[in-house]
């Protein structure tokens, strides 16, 4: 393709249309054909081809049906509308919608501009009140404009009233006696369908679109009635290459876009019928290889159907073409962007202003930047290819498309077959209980509510009243045939109870579900899928994030007071962190039985902290993955009477301190006596020191920060600021989210934003004026004493600042970064910096080098 483009771009476009878009369009047309016929014959619907895309869709469909020998689609008229026409046309039936559409379109424009756009074809009426002061105000005030009903508003409203009547007549005529309407269009969020459905609630509207996707703010009330024939999802996913259209919708939109004016008005003919005066010009659309090479390429494919005309053959051909299209859409080379270089899109309602799909890679105004142009581009990966050399563009394109580092490096293959055949239950859920029927009931329900059901639930009654347990199980709505009840007869302790339960059944995985904890319904489904999937080859267990639930046992039952993330900072499970303390609850931890067997299960000698000891020994054998969703709930009776219903963590706090020493000592002793793992002994020793060290560091920092005027004395206040932010973040939510460089970059950016008075940035940070910006900088740097809530930038702000890349924000290296050494070790980077494409070696290291595995060189 690359060579072809270099030789002759139009020919390349034709070939792209014929070889790649051809099969996917044919597959789409098959689905469309079936849908249309189904709606006509089974749903007795009126099918309408929505202009303007409908004009070319029909042309493609007719060619396709002829080539396949299918009976042609009949009795499905064109529907001459545009978003603006529908807004005008529903003025009488649903004014709020009509106004909302206009407001969105003319928010930043004057109402005069809006008026002119409304009368584009007819020209403003001669008696139009040009001097109405309202006309100088902005479209964002459009509600007040119409509410006040001044002279200009009256004229425009009268025009809408008139158009609305014509539209109602036009639509009623088209719809005939049908209650169901199917609209055929390219996509994507079905605005016209939504406006029509709101205006004609007595009819049922359906849409058959190429694809369906939306944004966070998209109105999705009619979503189920909008059929995306090829895809229905908001984001691109490598495993579904057809979803690449969400990154480059103009590839499809432009393909079906006929030449000719937009449809903005209706009129009455001499014969008295309603018609769209602009329709004729659009109907005259005659794409040729010279004007529309890609479309004619597609049409050539449709006429010939070289892969065969059957459903399966075309489905397979489309399946082969999509990965290639997706590769070009997500990771285009600079040459390949030329395939779409000719596309221009209207930037406004009336289609008077046209903007190119891709922007020339040069500054449009003072302060413009590649980053900004990519942001503004209608095809971001394409713009990235224009802005940066290939080796810099590709990582950026991968990030924009959400691609992994190896995606498309090998030929695309469908995802692995997700079928798991087991000879035993997937999971053994172990619940230890002792005379707490109220909690046990909740635990039973928590397990029964799981969306994954291949488990056996072992209830171990640890010496309590077995009849009470039995009755509780009987009276609870749960899957009784998945339950195995074990009576320990006498109390044997938590860890012994776990071992008894685990060894009583067979399973692939094990999880301890204590009687007072609970899960979100998706816990087992997500954790089992994780260990069943490719990650299962790396990890021996997985935790989900968990919530700390603060509750109290009252006469009325269990009362929940608060739910907060429990150790929300956990992103990975490090042995070193585990050596300091246990930081996840058993309820979050699903693991492989083979690891349990290998490490000999739980140590029954510990009344508390048995899980910590287990986790430590577990980590000597295998790694533990982390699911980011909080699916496990760790319940605590930390209010009211904590003794009676207490967790061992709350009620037995002293025991924890005592047994932390015992666990460390035993592991060490065992190792020294040759019966255990020597490295684990070293580890828990280091852990103890680390813990002490960390606490000491915190104390020192606190004291340092209490010293007034500290900031001025420091050689580099920005670095100090960065360090403080890091401390503050870690104090509040634990380590791990950002490193020192992130804070350095964020603080540098913030300082620059204040200096440059860059409102686009400051506003995002919630800073409303410059003195406040300076104040924020100062406060961030000052001691946290004296502020009731120590100021800190949110994680979002830091992320935003680190990702900020524009002119004026050249990135200086932090004092501890050896810029010279980095550049001399990386001559390719030095070249890029010399060309002025990057400001510093650090900038390269931070944005690219780190990901590429280059070494950060620090000063001593």
């Amino acid at each position: 393709m690359q060579e072809l483009i270099a030789k002759n771009a139009d020919h390349a476009r034709h070939e792209f249309g014929r070889e790649l878009l051809g099969p996917v369009v044919a597959d789409y047309l098959y689905r469309l054909y079936g849908t249309i016929r189904f709606f006509q014959d089974v749903r007795k619907a009126r099918v309408l081809f929505v202009s303007r895309a409908g004009i070319r869709i029909r042309r493609a469909l007719d060619t396709f049906t002829q080539a396949t020998g299918l009976p042609p689609v009949e009795d499905a008229p064109d529907f001459w509308i545009s978003r603006l026409m529908v807004a005008k046309g529903t003025w009488r039936r649903h004014r709020d919608n009509a106004i909302a559409v206009l407001k969105g379109e003319f928010y930043h424009h004057t109402l005069r501009e809006m008026a002119e756009a409304m009368f584009r074809h007819d020209g403003l009426p001669p008696d139009f009140p040009q001097d109405d002061p309202w006309l100088e105000r902005k479209g964002k005030e459009i509600e007040a404009f119409f509410a006040e009903n001044g002279p200009a508003a009256q004229v425009i409203a009268a025009h809408f009233e008139d158009q609305s009547r014509l539209f109602e007549e036009y639509f009623t005529d088209l719809a005939g006696d049908r209650d169901t309407i199917l609209l055929v269009d390219t996509g994507w969020a079905g605005t016209a369908q939504r406006l029509l459905a709101d205006a004609w609630p007595e009819k049922t509207f359906w849409g058959a679109y190429f694809g369906r996707y939306g944004f966070e703010t998209t109105d999705r009330r009619y979503w189920p009635n909008m059929i995306g024939l090829v895809f229905e999802q908001d984001t691109f996913e490598y495993e579904k290459p057809e979803t690449c259209v969400v990154l480059h919708r103009h590839m499809i939109e432009h393909l079906f876009e006929p030449h000719g004016p937009s449809i903005e008005r209706l009129a009455r003919s001499d014969a008295g019928t309603v018609f769209a005066p602009e329709a004729e010009a659009v109907r005259a659309d005659a794409p040729t290889a010279a004007t529309d090479p890609m479309f004619t390429g597609v049409m050539t494919y449709l006429a010939d159907l070289p892969d065969g005309g059957s459903l399966a053959a075309l489905h397979a051909a489309a399946g082969r073409a999509w990965p290639e299209i997706a590769r070009i859409v997500t990771l285009p080379t600079r040459e390949e962007t030329a395939l779409f270089g000719h596309i221009r899109r209207s930037a406004d309602f009336g289609k008077t202003l046209m903007v190119p799909l891709l922007l020339p890679p040069e500054d449009r105004f003072e302060g413009d930047s590649p980053e900004r142009r990519i942001q503004d581009s209608l095809w971001q990966p394409g713009q990235a290819a224009l802005e940066y050399p290939r080796d810099l563009a590709e990582p950026l394109q991968r990030r924009l498309a959400g691609l992994g580092p190896f995606d498309f490096k090998k030929p695309w293959t469908p995802p692995a077959v997700n079928v798991h055949i087991r000879q035993r239950p997937a999971v053994a859920v172990i619940t230890r209980t002792l005379d707490r029927p109220m909690f046990l009931k909740r635990a039973l329900e928590s397990v029964a509510a799981q969306t994954f059901d291949d488990y056996v639930h072992v209830i171990v009654s640890d010496g309590g009243d077995i009849d009470l347990v039995r009755d509780t199980i009987r009276d609870t709505e749960c899957r009784h045939n998945r339950i195995l009840l074990i009576d320990n007869v006498e109390n044997r302790g938590m860890e012994a109870a776990s071992n008894i339960g685990i060894r009583a059944v067979d399973s692939d995985y094990i999880v301890i579900h204590d009687d007072d904890d609970s899960w979100e319904p998706a816990y087992l489904e997500k954790t089992v899928a994780f260990l069943d999937g490719p990650k299962g080859e790396i990890y021996g267990g997985v935790i989900s994030k968990s919530m700390y639930v603060s509750e109290e046992v009252t006469r009325e039952g269990i009362k929940v007071h608060a739910r907060v993330p429990y150790h929300g900072w956990v992103e990975n499970v490090h042995i070193m962190e585990m050596a300091i303390q246990n930081f996840f609850p058993p309820i979050a931890f699903l693991y492989k039985r083979e690891i349990y067997d290998r490490i000999g299960g739980y140590n029954e000698a510990y009344p508390v902290l048995g899980d910590w000891d287990f986790n430590l020994r577990f980590l000597m054998e295998a790694d533990i993955g982390v699911l980011p969703e909080p699916l496990a709930n760790y319940h605590h009776r930390d209010r009211g009477n904590t003794h009676l219903f207490g967790n061992s963590v709350i009620a037995g706090r002293d025991k924890h301190v005592e047994y932390a020493a015992i666990v460390r000592n035993r592991l060490t002793r065992n190792a020294l006596q040759g019966g255990g793992n020597a490295s684990i002994a070293v580890l828990v020793g280091i852990g103890l020191h680390l813990d002490a060290l960390r606490q000491e560091t915190r104390r020192i920092q606190q004291r340092t920060e209490e010293m007034p005027g500290m900031i001025n004395a420091l050689a580099n206040p920005i670095q100090e600021l960065a360090r403080k932010q890091q401390n503050e973040m870690e104090r509040q939510s634990g380590p791990g989210l950002f490193d020192a460089d992130d804070y350095w970059v964020a603080m540098t950016r913030l300082e620059r934003a204040v200096l440059l008075k860059d409102w686009s940035v400051l506003r995002k940070l919630g800073v409303k004026d410059i003195s406040r910006g300076r104040l924020l900088l100062m406060k961030l740097g000052l001691s946290r004493k004296g502020f009731e809530k120590p100021p800190r930038l949110s994680a979002e702000s830091i992320k935003f600042l680190t990702q900020l890349r524009k002119k004026g924000y050249e990135l200086e290296p932090p004092p501890d970064f050896d810029e010279e050494a980095y550049l001399s070790r990386n001559p390719d980077v030095a070249a890029v910096v010399a060309q002025g494409k990057l400001h510093s070696g650090f900038e390269h290291y931070y944005y690219y080098g780190k990901k590429e595995g280059r070494k950060r060189i620090s000063r001593n």
Binding site: G34, F38, S310, H315, G319, V419, I466, A504
Partner: protein, 304 residues
């Protein structure tokens, strides 16, 4: 399992009779063996006892995978097999149709999937529930592959014949139903299915000489379903019985146990055994791989 599992814990015991409200009919193999072994008669007796204790007036069975037992093929593979049969029948009955010569069973199968998606998605909803219907599926199927209207009857007949050939009566439930009817009880069948009651009845007549049921309800006709829970009050109204007078038995935990219990019915689970599920899973994986070979990615719809 009233035995000691681990010698180190000689003092603990497992308690296996917590299944008070539910008879765990675990071994379908025993039933399909058609021997009236002690085990199945045990189960039968326990259900009868349960019926007497709870004064049950209406015994209700799920149809597919409960009253009628399927073989070990996953749904996706069944569609493909059926597509082969359809193509053969079409060629026999419509010898002059030129289109048929270029048709592959995969075309018929994909058209069926398109039809299933269309009917489930677009059929007008009742009380918030949606349900598909086989005649709509076939209508879409025939249009997509360009077959004349008379082909629709051929497809429907092939569907009925194929189902009948691959189903067998659950003799345990059949005996149970006859015993219950002798004692004056009513037996009904309730199915969540895209086949209407008329079609299911036709299938049953081909499988079973003397069907056990007096009434047959299908979500394909009623649109409200077991999995939505809304079919139960509708059936109560039609038959004039109170919720507590029903006992329903079926293989789907949600549709056949959870939902009817929520509606006030008695319900027992009749799960598909692991060995059976594994056979279907293996066949499904095989099916997906085979279709991959043809370049057709079936992951979005290929089910057990």
């Amino acid at each position: 399992m009233n035995h000691v599992i681990d010698k180190d814990y000689f003092k603990y015991k497992t308690v296996d009779d917590v299944n008070y409200t539910e008879i765990n009919i675990a071994s379908r193999e025993i039933i399909t063996n058609k021997h009236k072994s002690t085990k199945t008669s045990d189960i039968e007796n326990r259900i009868i006892q349960y019926i007497r204790e709870n004064d049950i007036k209406v015994l209700s069975f799920d149809v597919f995978d409960t009253y009628l037992l399927r073989n070990s093929k996953p749904e996706a593979a069944r569609y493909m097999e059926l597509s082969n049969i359809i193509l053969k029948r079409l060629k026999d009955s419509l010898p002059h149709q030129e289109r048929l010569s270029t048709l592959d069973p995969a075309d018929i199968c994909l058209a069926r999937i398109a039809g299933m998606q269309a009917t489930y998605r677009t059929r007008p909803r009742v009380e918030g529930c949606g349900e598909g219907e086989i005649r709509e599926v076939i209508a879409m199927q025939c249009r997509l592959i360009g077959l004349p209207a008379q082909a629709e009857d051929i497809l429907l007949e092939a569907e009925i014949a194929y189902e009948a050939e691959n189903l067998s009566e659950n003799t345990l439930l059949a005996r149970l139903a006859r015993r219950f009817r002798k004692e004056g009880g009513k037996v009904i069948l309730v199915s969540d299915m895209y086949l209407g009651a008329d079609i299911i009845a036709e299938i049953i007549h081909r499988v079973v000489k003397r069907p056990v049921h007096q009434h047959l309800f299908s979500s394909a006709d009623m649109v409200v379903s077991k999995r939505s829970g809304k079919i139960f009050p509708a059936i109560e109204r039609i038959l004039g019985h109170a919720p507590r007078e029903f006992l329903h038995i079926g293989d789907s935990w949600t549709g056949d146990v959870e939902r009817p219990r929520k509606a006030g019915w008695h319900a027992m689970h009749f799960p598909i055994p692991r060995t059976e599920l594994n056979k279907r899973k293996a066949a499904l994986a095989e099916f997906i791989r085979e279709m991959d070979e043809k370049g057709i990615n079936t992951r979005a719809w290929a089910k057990l």
